[in-house]
């Protein structure tokens, strides 16, 4: 069999058309990796600088009423994980920074990832797109003739007459093609690994482990494509038929299914427009909703006076304004939780539709896993947004608490730098690999099924392949 492997390998390398296709795909892969890395790194540096500046501004606010400071607010930046240079995921749509201020949870999520199909995003080719679209195309071009072409040329009869088994022949060809592909994929993987080790553009959330799993995901995807191409090549009447069928598969996988997934997921789980969403939050903030009434200031004041047994707000041991501000903050939080929670949940349900549709297009499973491992999927945005919102709430509690505790109603109170400095910066820990994979069980199962199914189909088709 090693003879078949070697022959197939040299055939691929000698064939000018495939050599140039491979060189092109390999070059695109390296360029997109490099470009992604440089971008991720500069974005990370910008974020770090901006974060430092924001903190600096926060700490040097001077003397100020804590509530003014709360309005002054602070920016929080979603850290870019090490692998985000491979797959930018939903980052371009959601943005990676959020403004934390009094009274409101700001939009972080503008548009979900799945909205963008490959064609729309081709402008800035990412490594993930090369891996998800172009490498499978190359695999198809290298494999469609593997058996159909030999049959058509009449060499298949002579090959099989030598005593070599059909499966051995097919496996040898698959390995030869895989070897040729390895010439472009292995260097890319090494460059990627080096980029992770040498100058990781983001904080470490087990980057190497994520990288290894990511490599495994793409390996499974490519193997499935290779096996599928071989199965079709064994089955098809002619090499031409095999090519047409496989290009059809490629189009459905890469162009049709993602588009259908977007439309179907939106139809099944509609999301409001940004404007509708904002209006709804505004309306609920103004009037409250069933079970979440707006805070009643006179009643709150009455309650405070009764609690402390005094007649006038000036005699309260706390600043009534601070207590009221915190009450309204908490009211707002419940409205936000309601609305944002529902929105995030809807996005996640849309994501499940994409994962399920991977049954017809493995790309959808690979895309979901790739974004997840790169830390750029909707779930990890939610993870960060939740942490940022928790931090905002803590910040507001501190500001309102300081106002309530350290001043009296009617005072002109100014807090000093100690308060700003006492307020800790946001410490965000990105989720673990286990958390990411735990969210993606469905995609893992579907991709695994594709892999096993394609290999079994290839084995069966090859065994039954007609000699011609």
């Amino acid at each position: 069999m090693k003879h078949i492997v070697r022959k197939e390998f040299t055939d691929v390398l000698r064939d000018g058309r495939f050599r140039w296709c491979s060189v092109l795909v390999g070059a695109l892969l390296l360029v997109s990796l490099g470009h992604g890395w440089v971008q991720a790194r500069s974005a990370q540096q910008e974020h770090a600088a901006a974060q430092a500046t924001a903190r600096d501004h926060w700490e040097s606010q001077g003397e100020k009423n804590p509530h003014s400071a709360a309005h002054y607010g602070i920016y929080a930046f979603k850290p870019r994980l090490a692998l985000s240079f491979v797959d930018e995921g939903v980052d371009p749509y959601t943005g990676t920074s959020v403004w934390l201020e009094a009274h409101r949870q700001n939009d972080f999520l503008l548009r979900p990832a799945q909205d963008a199909t490959a064609a729309q995003r081709i402008g800035a080719l990412t490594a993930a797109q090369v891996l998800q679209h172009l490498v499978p195309l190359l695999i198809i071009l290298l494999t469609f003739g593997a058996l159909a072409g030999e049959r058509e040329r009449g060499t298949l009869r002579q090959l099989l007459a030598t005593g070599i088994g059909r499966r051995e022949l097919a496996l040898g060809k698959a390995l030869g093609i895989a070897g040729a592909l390895a010439l472009l994929l292995v260097p890319a993987a090494l460059v990627g690994a080096a980029a992770l080790v040498v100058g990781s553009p983001g904080p470490a959330a087990s980057p190497l482990a994520r990288g290894v799993v990511l490599a495994g995901v793409y390996l499974a995807y490519f193997t499935a494509f290779l096996a599928l191409s071989l199965a079709v090549s064994a089955w098809a009447r002619s090499a031409r038929t095999a090519l047409v069928i496989l290009l059809g598969v490629w189009v459905v996988n890469g162009l049709v299914a993602p588009r259908v997934a977007v439309d179907l997921s939106k139809w099944l789980h509609p999301t409001p427009s940004a404007l509708e969403f904002a209006r709804n939050v505004e309306r609920e903030m103004a009037a409250g909703v069933e079970g979440i009434p707006r805070p009643d200031r006179p009643a709150l004041t009455e309650q405070l006076l009764a609690e402390h047994g005094v007649e006038r707000v000036e005699d309260l041991p706390v600043n009534e304004v601070g207590v009221y501000l915190q009450e309204s903050e908490e009211f707002g939080n419940r409205i936000f939780d309601r609305n944002y929670g529902a929105l995030w949940d809807t996005f996640e349900r849309q994501g499940v539709v994409h994962e399920a549709l991977a049954v017809v297009a493995p790309l959808l499973a690979v895309r979901t896993l790739s974004m997840g491992l790169a830390g750029t999927d909707v779930e990890q945005h939610r993870h960060f947004a939740t942490a940022a919102e928790a931090y905002r709430r803590d910040l507001m509690r501190r500001m309102n608490g300081d106002l309530a505790e350290n001043s009296r109603t009617g005072d002109t109170y100014l807090a000093g730098p100690e308060l700003w400095e006492e307020t800790p910066p946001l410490e965000y820990a990105a989720p673990t690999l286990g958390w990411v994979l735990g969210n993606r069980i469905l995609s893992i199962l579907v991709l695994g099924t594709w892999l096993v199914g394609a290999v079994l189909a290839a084995a069966a088709r090859v065994r039954q392949a007609e000699v011609g």
């Binding site: 009869r157 002579q158 007459a161 030598t162 000699v467």
Partner: protein
């Protein structure tokens, strides 16, 4: 002397245990009876020529020996092994030369031989030895390293022979190997077959060419509509007899 019909197939020919044997071998393609109860035995050193018009079932017979199609009934044996049960072992004993030997055009004759020989289990043959085999098969030494895309049909058939020689096969399956060759190339081809025969190779050759069959064959079988209608020893008859018998069967 026994008539051929009364003897068991294995006893036909030169009396040695047959290398190629068919017992009641039949193949239907849908309603077409492509091969009908073929009994045949070819011993070492025998060249059996299957004669018959297009569609008589010659290629089907060879395909059955190659295991490329499954018999509807009956069995094909190579060196005593049932082809359908011993795919690999039986193929290791045989070499096959089709009407058009198909080679990899972007490889040289030598590289093609190297590849097919290696797949046939002769990966240890050196390029020097393989070149000698190509020359033995009748290829010009200067052509050995040329790309096959520049070869004539005759040259490609010679590479086919070289593949068979390199494999040291016990039996040869030839499907109209000389059709389309000029008389000289065709004659050279016959000489090679003769040499292999003398080494004890059993040959089954399908052909249209009565003259070639009489020259090269030790026995001829005439097929029509999937049936072997008669079998003759070439020693017993002249060229004219063969033609007469052939035409008689065609017009029956």
């Amino acid at each position: 002397m026994n008539t051929p019909e009364s003897r068991h197939p294995a006893e036909l020919g030169n009396g040695r245990a047959p290398l190629l044997e068919a017992r009641g071998l039949s193949k239907n393609y849908g309603a077409t009876r492509a091969l009908d109860s073929l009994d045949l035995a070819i011993a070492p050193g025998e060249v059996y020529c299957l004669l018959g018009p297009n569609g008589a079932g010659k290629t089907t017979t060879i395909n059955l020996f190659l295991g490329f199609v499954a018999p509807t009934s009956g069995q094909a044996f190579i060196a005593g092994l049932d082809v359908s049960a011993h795919d690999r072992e039986t193929k290791q004993r045989i070499a096959y030369i089709p009407e058009q030997v198909m080679l990899y055009r972007n490889l040289s004759g030598l590289e093609n031989l190297e590849y097919f020989a290696a797949l046939g289990g002769k990966g240890a043959l050196t390029p020097g030895r393989l070149t000698d085999i190509l020359v033995e098969a009748g290829l010009e030494r200067s052509a050995v390293d040329q790309r096959v895309s520049e070869y004539s049909k005759g040259m490609r058939q010679k590479v086919g022979i070289a593949i068979a020689i390199a494999k040291e096969a016990d039996a040869l399956l030839l499907d109209e190997p000389t059709s389309g060759l000029d008389p000289q190339a065709s004659n050279e081809f016959s000489e090679l077959i003769e040499r292999l025969k003398n080494r004890g190779v059993a040959v089954l050759m399908a052909t249209h060419d009565l003259f070639r069959a009489k020259e090269t064959g030790t026995r001829v079988g005439i097929m029509r509509y999937g049936r072997l209608v008669t079998e003759l020893g070439t020693e017993e008859i002249g060229h004219a007899d063969l033609e007469r018998i052939y035409l008689k069967h065609m017009h029956d």
